[in-house]
Symmetry: C2
Amino acid sequence: MTTPASAPARIYTAALVVIGDEILSGRTHDKNIAQIATWLGVQGIRLREVRVVADDTDAIVEAVNTLRLRNDYLFTTGGIGPTHDDITVDAIAQALGVPVVIHPQARAILHDYYTGRGSELTEARLRMARVPEGADLIPNRYSGAPGIRWGNIYIMAGVPHITAGMLDALTGTIEGGAPVLSATLGCWVGESEVADLLAATEKAFPGVQIGSYPFFREGRTGANFVIRSTDEATVAACSAQLTQVLADVGYGAVEGGI
Amino acid sequence: MTTPASAPARIYTAALVVIGDEILSGRTHDKNIAQIATWLGVQGIRLREVRVVADDTDAIVEAVNTLRLRNDYLFTTGGIGPTHDDITVDAIAQALGVPVVIHPQARAILHDYYTGRGSELTEARLRMARVPEGADLIPNRYSGAPGIRWGNIYIMAGVPHITAGMLDALTGTIEGGAPVLSATLGCWVGESEVADLLAATEKAFPGVQIGSYPFFREGRTGANFVIRSTDEATVAACSAQLTQVLADVGYGAVEGGI
């Protein structure tokens, strides 16, 4: 049986739980939301919701159990290091109702990593081989300690460049749908002046979303309009129409945005 | 009746809902989480949880109603502009079960703002005077359109410098408790080498949290240890003890962090 051409494309969604007091204190500026959102977009997966929670077991359990059930995928960042404040693995195991075990391959990776540097695999470092029972590993090319996959949950590092390496390792391994495509039109106009035009244009193209992102730059007011759809021809047609209606009221739109 | 000296200080908590497809698409890097977290810390309020949700009524309603009830304060950012994708006010009014009304003072502010610039208060711009019934306004010194307070909910702009102006206007108006104080010690050490020392030191100082934030810089591994408590003397004593135990195993700690 083939899928009828008119069937709507399946949409794959993901959620992200950012775990860490350092984000909630304002000390550290999160970089993982944008990094993971962008990566997911390329895989054809939409980041639908994000929660930032403290290093607190109950908070992690609640977020993980709510979000893993209503999304195709759940990613977490942070709290998988060797210190006492790294409680992500224990909290997720509790959420799943499975014990925490030492993953033999993770132990071997850590053993090789530390002995190869003239050091040793201490008890504290062995903490980084602990996983919820039944987990697979996600390679970490930078610092030995692997990420963890359990079912549809991907447990990643908090340090952004290590997270990036883990995402690289996962590229192409996770099933997604049609990526969301977008075109951006920039315009030196106050968005309130063309609000009706934007709404009418969006309405004329089913399945399209037009986002309006105002800015103030060089002493002038402007806005970027981002047209999103999974269909390339639709994005192009909507972009052309919006350019035309903006020109009709005297505003030149800049392709690619300002 | 006086409060016994031993009574634990009341802790004030806040949650933040960041509203916007542009954050979830990865197009825009959020700056409001860190900005609001830092500002709340100074007010003696702890940011306990953050959710990032799409421009979607159901998602906003769920987040607002869950978080406003279990925190002293709820902040939202984004979605209060004049365009069709700005649905925050309608969604929050729905969450609260109250109608949306035009706030007379907001209408007057917007009227003065636009006529003062040789323009006029159009229908689209009047959208920015809409509030959940019963709301007060939060001044916006930059672009006219005010923020909104309803009960313990503070509805703010998404553009970070406008949010900053609204936070300035709120400074000193919201009741908080004792601010969380912190000291940072930086050390050129792999955190896994001193994990046990960190845990033991934290345990020796009830009410203290020690966070460990590893980094890799100048080809070397290091970590910053952040000691947090509401009591200044306790932070100082814990910091001194951690410096000593690190020195005992051969590591010099740098006050203020690396």
